[in-house]
Amino acid sequence: MDNFKRVRHTLAEILDLDEGEILPESYLVRELDAESIDLLEVALALSTEFGIEVRDDEIFLKNLRILIADAGENGVDPVVAIVENLPHIQEKRAGEMVADLADGPVLQVRDLVAYVGHCCQ
């Protein structure tokens, strides 16, 4: 099973959703209504499923806004700052996040897939 399917299965179990409702582009908080306690469960479940150490702040982009603010204060391109600090995020996706930030939490299912893929390398 590919990583997306495994992540989707985990999310469906924890969020009590049908797998068909979960797409790579689904926003975890904005669309799938994930709450903080759900994210605790997701982190634990993914660490078990993939045999990896999941760092909550990285997989759930918890410090993203601070990262971008710091980059702005230091005259650093925020996209560069994201890629440097969150190595599982590609440059194109980082650019989308910066553009999308005003509409709420940017975390999408594909970001979790990228994280577990990066950890499994």
Partner: protein, 394 residues
């Protein structure tokens, strides 16, 4: 000024069925759900069949945090709210009184893979949190745990709050399941369980001289208590009136009841006094009737002293549904008011040689009306609770 308090909604899950019709049909057919569990063939248990929380909640991701007993409570609360004709927004100021026991299903959530917040399966107020979120309750809430007296006390405390004007509506109840190896071991070691071989439907004999202990049941129930004027104003269905409540402590042995029943009697007399009724006004007693030597001996002594000369009818619902632990009080209440509405009193099952004379234990199912019900429960720790319920009349 004290207000009259009525029950305007009820919901329950029991081993005998989940509605008045199911339970009474089973009683008429002399059918129980007693069986021997796979984890210990010495024991007899009474499980609830085909229970699925999400049938009642719909999609519900927090279901993972509810142990089986808590799930019964949550589902029962939602059914009681619906039965009372209450909809979203009407419970903002309602109170929520929940009973919970220790979750002794120690393997659950550990053997099956830990969830990050598995602690919630063991915190007593997780059911209250779930009910409040699902029913939109934002009033006060208390979770109580007083062993087998828990939910009779939960209903009693909610009743007092409504009676004194602190609340117009209160939900009261809880759920419990001890049908698991951890709980069974605990009660077996305490010597409280029936371990007799033979037909599982015959081994539980409350108030019989040859009684040998209780049968572990499971389930949950909730009632909606409402100030009479509030209920009338909104045209709510009125199932019965709660007239009095009393509680007491033995202040003695941690597990064995005081044999004289002296302190249990104190709880019962408080309930009668508050209801402004004399013992002679009671038509039917729903006895705690666990089927243990100690409880039933004490309870028979207490009833004989309370009702000298003329005994009211006495039923023992645990002989039908098993012992629902902390949930026994509210489920016995919910079934009791169903029996009141349908003019039906079930026999004390398997009672052949009563342990006391002069007490009117119901020996055969009777189609007969009763207007006043005394419900009593006594728990480990010396916790005693009694409730007086009346048929509602204007």
């Amino acid at each position: 000024m004290n207000r009259r308090v009525v029950i305007t909604g009820s919901g329950f899950f029991s081993p005998l069925g989940n509605s008045a019709r199911e339970v009474i049909t089973a009683m008429e057919e002399n059918r129980t759900a007693f069986e021997r569990p796979g984890f210990d063939p010495d024991l007899v248990v009474a499980p609830v069949a085909d229970f699925n929380l999400k049938t009642h909640t719909g999609r519900y991701k927090n279901a993972r945090y509810l142990n089986r007993g808590a799930a019964f409570g949550v589902a029962a609360a939602l059914r009681a709210v619906k039965a009372a004709g209450l909809s979203e927004g009407m419970l903002e100021n309602a109170g929520l009184f929940v009973g919970a026991g220790p979750n002794l299903d120690l393997g659950h959530g550990v053997d099956d893979g830990l969830s990050a917040l598995w602690i919630l399966n063991f915190l007593p107020n997780t059911a209250a949190s779930a009910i409040a979120a699902l029913a939109g309750i934002h009033g006060e809430s208390t979770t109580m745990s007083t062993a087998c007296a828990t939910t009779v006390q939960v209903v009693g405390e909610a009743f007092q709050k409504v009676r004194l004007g602190g609340l117009d509506i209160a939900l009261a109840g809880g759920g419990d399941s001890r049908i698991n190896p951890g709980a069974a071991l605990a009660y077996k070691m305490a010597g409280a369980l029936c371990t007799e071989p033979g037909d599982p439907s015959r081994v539980h004999r409350p108030f019989d001289r040859s009684r040998r202990g209780f049968v572990i049941g499971e389930g949950g129930g909730f009632v909606v208590l409402e100030a009479l004027d509030h209920a009338l104003k909104r045209g709510a269905p009125i199932l019965a009136e709660v007239a009095g409540f009393g509680a007491s402590m033995d202040g003695g042995n941690m597990t064995a009841p005081a044999t004289s029943g002296r302190w249990m009697e104190k709880a019962v007399r408080k309930a009668l006094t508050q209801a402004e009724l004399l013992p002679a006004d009671i038509d039917l007693v729903s006895a705690h009737g666990t089927g243990t030597q100690l409880n039933d001996g004490m309870e028979a002594t207490l009833l004989a002293r309370l009702f000298p000369g003329k005994s009211p009818r006495i039923m023992a619902l645990k002989s039908w549904i098993g012992h629902l632990s902390t949930a026994c009080g509210v489920v016995e209440l919910a079934i009791g008011i169903s029996l009141m509405a349908r003019k039906f009193i079930p026999a004390v099952r398997n009672l052949e040689a009563p342990c006391a004379s002069g007490l009117d234990f119901v020996r055969e199912n009777r189609k007969i009306a009763f207007d006043t019900l005394l419900l009593q429960n006594f728990g480990f720790g010396g916790q005693n609770g009694a409730l007086v319920v009346k048929k509602w009349t204007e």
